[in-house]
C-alpha cells in the first residue's frame, strides 16, 4: 500500500525545536547587475526596475509585497503533501570489489568496510522484480555500481537482459546506467552498452598526470592509460550509449578548467566535477579555507564554457548545464536528491539502502529484497531530512535549490562549503540570465544536455 509522506514545511513548534532563529528568508537580491531578485518559494527569478531593487535593499522583505503577492497564485512545490510512490530507479551494487586502489574512495575500494563480495543473479533479479512490481507503464532505471561493476560481468549482463524481458511483460520502459572506472571494458562490453542504450559514467580525474595521482591499479599501474585503452572505441562510436566523465577534485589540486579540457580532448562529450567532501584520507577532503578557491575555479571553468558556447559549441560542462536547466524550470526541492524517494540502492547481499553512498551503513538501511522495501523507514528518513527541519538550511535563501546537501555526507561529516554553494548558485543565476538574453531559444528548446 502506498503511504503518504508529508513534505510540507514543519509547523512552528518544530521550527522552534530545531533552534530556528527568525523567519526563513523569502527573497534574495542578487549582487551585481542587472537588478535580479530570486523568490525562494517556487525558485522564481525576476528582473525589477533599479528603483524598486534599491527599495528592496533598503527596506528588506516588507517592500517585496508586490513580488510575494505574485507567488501566492502558485502552490509552492515544497508546501505540497505528496504521496510517496515506490521508487522508479535502483542501483545494484553488483561488485563489492575493485581492481583500482583510489586513495579517496568512499567505498573502501568497493568493499564498504566489509569483505569482497559479488551480487548473485538471483538477488539482482529479485531487486528488479521488486522495482517492476511497484510500477506500471512508466520508465524505470536500473543502475550498476560498485566497486567496479565489470568485475561481475555475467551478473550485469544477465540482470540487464532479465530487466528488459520483465519490463516488456509489465509494459514499462527500462533505462540502464553504469558507473565504472572503464579499465575492464572489452569490445563485447562496449557492444552490450550500445545495444542497451546505457548511460555510462566513467570515473576519471583529468589528464594522465592528474588522474594517476589518486587513481592507480593495485600494482601501481596508470589508471588513466588502462581506462583510455579500454574506452576509446566507445568514445569514438558511442552508438546509442551516452558517455560522460566524472572527475573528483581533492584539496591537493583544485583546478577545474584543466581537468575539463583534458577530458574533452580525450573524447568525452560531457564532463562533470565533484569536490571531495569526505575521504578515508582526511588530507584530501576540502576544508573550510578551500571552498572560496574552488568557487573561483568553477567560475573560471564556466567562463571558458561561455566562450565555447559563443563559438557555436554545445554545453559540455555538466555541472553548469544541469544548474541552468534546473534554474530555467524553477526546480524547488525540499530534499537534495531522489535518495530513498524515487531511488534506492541494493547491496550485494540484497539489502536496501538510501543510496549507493550509504551501502552497509545501518543508519540508512531500508529493508531487503526478500521481505521488501520498508515504507515506514523511507517515510521516516525523508521526513527527518526535509530541508526545513535542518539548521542552518532553514535560514538560507538557497535552501530549495540545494535541498540541504548530500544526506550521506552531512550525516557523516556535517555541512561544509555552504558559502561555496550559495556563491555558485548566485553565479549560475546570473549566467542563466545572460544565456536567456543571448541564446533564449537554447533554454526553451531544451538544448542543454539532458
Amino acid at each position: 500500500m502506498v503511504g503518504l509522506v508529508t513534505l510540507e514545511a514543519p509547523s512552528r513548534p518544530i521550527a522552534a525545536a530545531i533552534g530556528a532563529s527568525g523567519p526563513p528568508p523569502l527573497l534574495h537580491l542578487l549582487p551585481g547587475g542587472p537588478p535580479l531578485v530570486f523568490v525562494v518559494e517556487g525558485s522564481r527569478l525576476f528582473e525589477v526596475d533599479p528603483e524598486y531593487f534599491d527599495q528592496l535593499a533598503r527596506a528588506g522583505e516588507p517592500a517585496g509585497e508586490a513580488l510575494l503577492e505574485l507567488g501566492k497564485r502558485v502552490v509552492p512545490t515544497t508546501a505540497r503533501s505528496v504521496p510517496l510512490p515506490p521508487p522508479n530507479a535502483i542501483s545494484l551494487n553488483i561488485a563489492h570489489a575493485c581492481n583500482l586502489s583510489c586513495s579517496y574512495c568512499y567505498a573502501d575500494e568497493g568493499r564498504f568496510g566489509g569483505r569482497v563480495s559479488m551480487m548473485s543473479r538471483e538477488i539482482a533479479c529479485a531487486a528488479i522484480d521488486r522495482l517492476l512490481d511497484g510500477v506500471s507503464e512508466q520508465r524505470v532505471t536500473v543502475g550498476f555500481i560498485g566497486g567496479e561493476p565489470f568485475l561481475n560481468r555475467q551478473a550485469l549482463y544477465s540482470a540487464t537482459e532479465y530487466a528488459c524481458e520483465r519490463a516488456k511483460r509489465t509494459g514499462c520502459r527500462v533505462g540502464f546506467s553504469v558507473t565504472t572506472n572503464g579499465t575492464l571494458l572489452t569490445a563485447q562490453d562496449i557492444e552490450f552498452l550500445r545495444e542497451h542504450s546505457f548511460s555510462v559514467s566513467i570515473s576519471l580525474d583529468g589528464s594522465a598526470e592528474t588522474n594517476d595521482q589518486h587513481r592507480r591499479s593495485r600494482n601501481g599501474g596508470s589508471g588513466f592509460d588502462m581506462a583510455m585503452r579500454a574506452i576509446t572505441p566507445l568514445l569514438r562510436d558511442p552508438g546509442r550509449a551516452r558517455v560522460a566523465a566524472r572527475a573528483t577534485i581533492t584539496r591537493q589540486d583544485l583546478q577545474v578548467v584543466e581537468r575539463v579540457d583534458a577530458l574533452l580532448r580525450a573524447g568525452f562529450a560531457e564532463v562533470g566535477v565533484s569536490p571531495l567532501r569526505t575521504s578515508p584520507d582526511a588530507q584530501l577532503a576540502l576544508r573550510d579555507q578551500d571552498w572560496s578557491l574552488f568557487l573561483n575555479e568553477m567560475v573560471r571553468a564556466a567562463e571558458v564554457e561561455w566562450q565555447r558556447v559563443c563559438d557555436g559549441s554545445q554545453f559540455r560542462f555538466s555541472n553548469l548545464a544541469v544548474a541552468l536547466r534546473q534554474l530555467h524550470a524553477g526546480y524547488c526541492k525540499p530534499l537534495p536528491c531522489g535518495s530513498a524517494a524515487s531511488y534506492v540502492s541494493v547491496s550485494a547481499r540484497g539489502e536496501y539502502f538510501t543510496c549507493h553512498r550509504t551501502i552497509d551503513d545501518p543508519r540508512f538501511a531500508l529493508g531487503n529484497t526478500a521481505t521488501g522495501l520498508s515504507q515506514n523507514r523511507r517515510e521516516n528518513f525523508l521526513r527527518s531530512r526535509h530541508v526545513d527541519r535542518q539548521e542552518p538550511c532553514r535560514s538560507c535563501w538557497a535552501r530549495y535549490l540545494c535541498g540541504g546537501g548530500c544526506h550521506a555526507e552531512v550525516l557523516s561529516a556535517g555541512r561544509s562549503g555552504c558559502d561555496y554553494i550559495r556563491g555558485w548558485l548566485e553565479y549560475c543565476l546570473r549566467f542563466y540570465d545572460r544565456t536567456l538574453r543571448q541564446f533564449p531559444a537554447m533554454l526553451d528548446r531544451g538544448e542543454l544536455m539532458q
Binding site: R44, V74, G330, C332, Y432
Partner: protein
C-alpha cells in the same frame, strides 16, 4: 507607484496571471491534423463563458475554478458583479462547484458530473 517586475525563468513566468483565456485556448493548441475527425478540442475554446466565473473542464465535470471580479465582462453586468462581491461570491468560494445545467431561452443542456470524482475533489 507600481514597481516594474519582469519574470525571467519558467516558474516566474507561470506566476504572472493575466486576465483572459489561457494560452491553451489558442488555435495552435488544437490537435490539428494529428487525429482526423478531432481537429479541434472545443473544451479549450473558452473558460470564461459566464461573466466573472472561470471554469475548468476536468474529468470530474465542469469545475468552477474561481470567481474573477476584475473580469471586464462584469462591467456590463453590475448586478452579477455585486452578487459575486457579496454573499454569492462567498458561497462560491467554499468547497467545489460543478456546472450541472445551462438553461437558455427555455432550453436546458445537462452537463455530466462524475459523482465519485467529485467526492474526491471536495
Amino acid at each position: 507607484m507600481i514597481p516594474k517586475i519582469f519574470p525571467r525563468n519558467l516558474t516566474a513566468r507561470a506566476a504572472v496571471e493575466v486576465v483572459g483565456n489561457p494560452v491553451n485556448t489558442r488555435l495552435e493548441s488544437g490537435v490539428g491534423n494529428c487525429f482526423p475527425g478531432l481537429e479541434f478540442d472545443h473544451r479549450n475554446l473558452d473558460r470564461r463563458f459566464f461573466p466573472g466565473l472561470v471554469f475548468e473542464f476536468t474529468e470530474a465535470g465542469v469545475l468552477l475554478l474561481h470567481t474573477d471580479l476584475n473580469d471586464p465582462a462584469l462591467d456590463e453586468n453590475p448586478g452579477v458583479k455585486k452578487a459575486l462581491a457579496g454573499k454569492t461570491g462567498e458561497t462560491l468560494s467554499l468547497g467545489s462547484w460543478f456546472l450541472e445545467e445551462i438553461t437558455q431561452e427555455g432550453k436546458t443542456i445537462s452537463v455530466p458530473v462524475s459523482n465519485s470524482d467529485m467526492a474526491m475533489m471536495t
